[in-house]
């Protein structure tokens, strides 16, 4: 986005920007790392210059930030950080499979609830971002001024309010048996958790990462995440992101993924909570014979806005990318899908496919879909498809003819529709668990109560 002309910024947005720049300054007063200090400063100047995007920005025309801008989220109180989450409270979120667990409470790693980071399996190293900052000097180089993170408005905000997150490394040729489960819990009203994560898989490494975002009660808070993922030659990464925050919350997640030759990256996003959520994958395929698959299942009702987007760059030959994105929208929910497959001139033999299917359960729900292709190489196979509609009455009739009540038939068909992308998760215990979460949200979330005609 090149915006050379000075933007008109509304008084409301100016006030919000000043508020967040103020928070960023207060963080900088106690900052020890000069790299982070400089990065925050750079982010502040960008914030002041560009503020928050409005509907006039092409990338934000369907995702309105009005409500976000009206809020003045505060930083979590880092010093009062104790066990604000009891073991019992944690219990409700815990998955039923063996795992390595990391628990973040209001944006800060909680060591008491997390696994002991000094006794992790061989080849796996996890640090909290705060600890990493104190020990490593290379951190500063992550925030060079031309870093990709600054191309996104919420990437800029993330850097300005940089607080914690995790750094995860998998050593060469190590396959980590257990999935790493990272839970983020919001417990306090009106605060913004800023998480900056880095995941690096060395050559031929393998990892399954599950990131879950939840709220303890009906809090109105904001989570702004940036996750950078590097997948080296022949490495294999599987990722699942579950977003189940309280209905008044905000969620922004920018993922910057780069893949090297022969690597495989598989990510699945399930969006269920938050009044406004936006999950973005920026995926760069920087080698030959790369495979990846990006999928999502999104559910929204009432006044929720659920936005999921992908930006896939095929930069080298023989890349294969697959995408399936499904939305179920009820009440006055708004769904946004924006996908771009860009095939560079060098990326011959590319095979790219992107599908977006949407089911509208109500006449006031809206779906905005923008599946895009930008292709500069001739010997490629690329396609995209998008379909939006309601349940085929024939399908309902078919089930009714077999003695299944109408309401149950609608539930069955909707559930089957939503579950298709879940099939791409290749660890069965994770797949079953995610499937359960999604079907619970669908069947108990009030999607069918009034919708029976």
């Amino acid at each position: 986005m090149s915006n050379k002309r000075t933007r008109k910024i509304s008084p409301m947005a100016t006030a919000a920007v000043e508020h967040y720049v103020g928070l960023s300054n207060s963080l900088n007063t106690s900052e020890v790392s000069s790299g982070v200090f400089a990065a925050r400063q750079h982010a502040q100047s960008l914030l002041l210059q560009l503020a928050f995007p409005t509907q006039r920005d092409e990338q934000w025309q369907y995702t309105k930030l009005v409500q976000f801008v009206q809020n003045r989220f505060e930083l979590p109180n880092l010093n009062a950080q104790k066990t604000t989450l009891s073991k019992d409270e944690l219990e409700q979120f815990t998955p039923p499979y063996e795992r390595i667990q990391l628990i973040f409470v209001d944006g800060v790693l909680n060591c008491d609830l997390s696994d002991d980071l000094s006794s992790l399996p061989n080849g796996l190293r996890i640090q909290s971002m705060r600890d990493e900052l104190q020990n490593s000097t290379s951190v500063a180089s992550w925030f060079s001024e031309d870093a990709l993170v600054f191309s996104e408005p919420f990437g800029v905000l993330n850097t300005a309010l940089f607080t914690d997150g995790f750094v995860l490394n998998v050593a060469e040729n190590s396959a980590i048996e257990l999935p790493v489960w990272v839970l983020h819990v919001q417990t306090q009203d009106n605060q913004i958790s800023t998480l900056t994560n880095r995941v690096q898989l060395a050559r031929n490494a393998e990892l399954t990462l599950v990131q879950q975002f939840v709220s303890l009660s009906e809090v109105q808070a904001c989570t702004n995440v940036v996750t950078s993922i590097e997948v080296a030659n022949s490495a294999r990464m599987r990722q699942v992101v579950l977003q189940q925050q309280a209905e008044a919350s905000f969620y922004f997640h920018n993922q910057f993924v780069s893949q090297a030759s022969n690597s495989d990256f598989n990510t699945f996003y399930a969006g269920m909570g938050s009044v406004l959520s936006r999950h973005q994958n920026h995926l760069s395929m920087d080698g030959e014979h790369i495979e990846n698959s990006q999928n999502s299942a999104c559910l929204a009702r009432q006044k929720q806005v659920v936005d999921s987007r992908t930006h896939t760059l095929h930069n080298q030959e023989w890349g294969a990318s697959r995408q399936l994105h499904k939305y179920v929208l009820a009440d006055s929910a708004v769904g946004v899908f924006d996908g771009m497959i860009r095939v560079d001139r060098q990326a011959q033999k590319t095979d790219g496919q992107m599908d977006n299917k949407n089911l509208l359960l109500s006449n006031t729900a809206k779906m905005n879909s923008k599946p895009q292709l930008e292709i500069y190489a001739d010997d490629v196979k690329c396609s995209h498809g998008s379909a939006t509609g309601q349940i085929n009455p024939d399908q309902i009739f078919y089930l009714q003819a077999r003695g299944i009540p109408r309401s149950q038939a609608i539930e069955m068909i909707t559930k089957a529709f939503l579950m298709e992308p879940v099939e791409t998760i290749n660890r069965s215990e994770v797949k079953n668990w995610v499937g359960k979460q999604l079907s619970n949200a669908l069947l108990t979330g009030g999607y069918f109560s009034g919708g029976d005609k």
């Binding site: 809206k366 292709l373 490629v380 995209h384």
Partner: protein, 498 residues
């Protein structure tokens, strides 16, 4: 034109010839690239309120038309040139164009717009004859409005048509003769503030065609307009209004060409189509503006706003276009489907070669119940060109049971070109069904091998395959046009395979 040449080439006459020969070599295929020299009246370059007033005065326009122009001009001055399309061009200098140019004929009567078939400058007539445009009414199946730079020079078969109550005349004449109709419809589909180029057009509109088909009349012949830009550094700003009243039918064709010039020329048209209850309009375009040299020098900038509204029930509007020319195309013929059960269609073949850039597509706005739309777009890119489909399908909450089917196929010939698809799909009604499909591929090696094996030359084989690829769209074009489009395609593809 010659003046410019003299200024730019200060070398010997030999090198000058060399240059011309090179230029000709490059543009051999563009047989419409000749230049007609005749007496012309051309306004000084530049654009300001006085120019707008002068255009209006030249055309002897009523007060309301001048007011419309001035309002649009004021608004245009507040706007910025749009650059969001996937086409790169340096911002245009609007002061470097002339906004009015018309052939004047010493021997002819200077009184224009007298209604009858006026006499035509013989040079201009020759030009149209060379282009194969039957302006003298020699073809029984078609009525032609021929537009040369800023004015309509001839409109034939008007009497025959008027017996049926059909109005077919140039836009300038319509302003004089049918002011109430023009006032009723102008700006209703494309308001003057719609976009930058529509505002510019509204301010300096040159000429165009006005068509009115009365109730329950099935227009027996095809109506057509041929646009010719002749003068260098002139902009053409045609304004066309087509109204099909209840239960009527018309097929309208549009063609265009321009001489080879080494600078960009601007063509910013506005076309408004109004379709009433049960009426049907078929609007076909074969666009063959000069596309510039191999190095991307010169060519027409085709920045067009075309939009139609299906005002009444069961109305049908169908856009068919074959786009092969222009340096840059920026064109989105759209349908507003307001009447219940109305139908919108868009069939397009866009071919880009050399350094051409095309950003074209459609908008289908569904408002009425059970409205249906079909979009078939075929993009072919060769050489160093970029070909973009940009389209919007919007289903408003009121459009119960709306249906849309979109198919965009792109084909790449060569590895230096680009093919892009940017669809916008906005659905606000659950009973609507919207489908979109897009594919990108190239001509299969086995397909080529298969043809060559049967003794077909590679170039012919490619032409055959491409024609097959476009068949769905060409079959929608009127017969002569379909043939012309196929030939154009073959010519435009020349040299793209090596």
């Amino acid at each position: 034109m010659l003046d410019e040449k003299n200024i730019t080439s200060s070398g010997s006459s030999e090198t000058q010839y060399q240059e011309i020969n090179d230029l000709l070599d490059k543009n051999q295929h563009y047989k419409e690239g000749f230049f007609t020299s005749t007496h012309v009246e051309t306004f000084e370059k530049g654009l300001n309120e006085a120019v707008v007033r002068a255009i209006s005065a030249k055309k002897n326009e009523p007060e309301w038309m001048l007011a419309f122009r001035l309002k649009a001009f004021k608004h245009w001055q507040t706007l910025d040139e749009p650059h969001w399309a996937k086409a790169e061009y340096t911002p245009l200098d609007y002061q470097d164009y002339s906004y009015y140019s018309a052939p004047t004929c010493g021997s002819c009567d200077t009184e224009e717009g007298s209604g009858s078939e006026q006499e035509i400058d013989p040079e201009v007539a020759k030009a149209f004859a060379e282009l194969g445009v039957p302006i003298m009414g020699e073809d029984a199946n078609i009525a032609v409005d021929a537009i040369f730079d800023s004015v309509s020079v001839s409109t034939n078969k008007r009497e025959d048509l008027s017996k049926l109550g059909i109005i077919f005349c140039s836009f300038s004449e319509a302003v004089q003769d049918y002011p109430e109709l023009v006032q009723k419809y102008m700006g209703t589909v494309v308001p003057y503030h719609d976009n930058y180029f529509a505002a510019l057009n509204s301010a300096v509109a040159s000429d165009g065609t006005f068509v009115y088909i009365p109730e329950n009349v099935h227009c027996p012949i095809d109506l057509s307009t041929y646009f010719r830009i002749n003068e260098a550094k002139t902009g053409q700003f045609e304004r066309t209004i087509l109204v099909a009243d209840k239960g009527s039918y018309v097929s309208y064709l549009e063609g265009c060409s321009a001489p080879v010039r080494d600078t960009y020329q601007l063509h910013a048209a506005v076309v408004e189509v109004i379709v009433m209850d049960d009426a049907e309009v078929k609007y076909s375009t074969v666009q063959n503006w000069y596309s510039g040299t191999d190095d991307g020098e010169g060519g027409i900038l085709n920045f067009v706003t075309k939009r139609g509204i299906c005002e009444g029930k069961n109305a049908k509007l169908s856009w068919t276009q074959a786009e092969t020319g222009s340096a840059i195309t920026w064109k989105y013929p759209s349908c507003i489907l307001k009447g219940d059960n109305s139908i919108g269609e868009f069939y397009s073949v866009a071919l880009t070669n050399r350094r051409q850039q095309a950003d074209t597509g459609t908008k289908m706005i569904h408002i009425g119940k059970n409205t249906r739309s079909t979009i078939i777009s075929k993009g072919i890119s060769a050489g160093f060109s970029d070909n973009t489909y940009r389209g919007m399908v919007k289903i408003l909450p009121s459009a119960e049971g709306a249906r849309n089917f979109t198919q965009c196929d792109s084909m790449l010939i060569g590895d230096q070109c680009g093919a892009h698809t940017f669809p916008y799909i906005e659905v606000e009604n659950a009973t609507a069904q919207v489908e979109h499909e897009a594919t990108t591929s190239r001509i299969g090696e086995d397909q080529l091998f298969y043809c060559k094996q049967r003794g077909i030359r590679e170039e012919d084989a490619i032409s055959m395959i491409v024609n097959g690829f476009c068949k769905e769209v060409f079959s929608e074009l009127p017969l002569e046009f379909a043939q012309e489009a196929e030939e154009l395609l073959a010519i435009s593809l020349e040299g793209s395979v090596g």
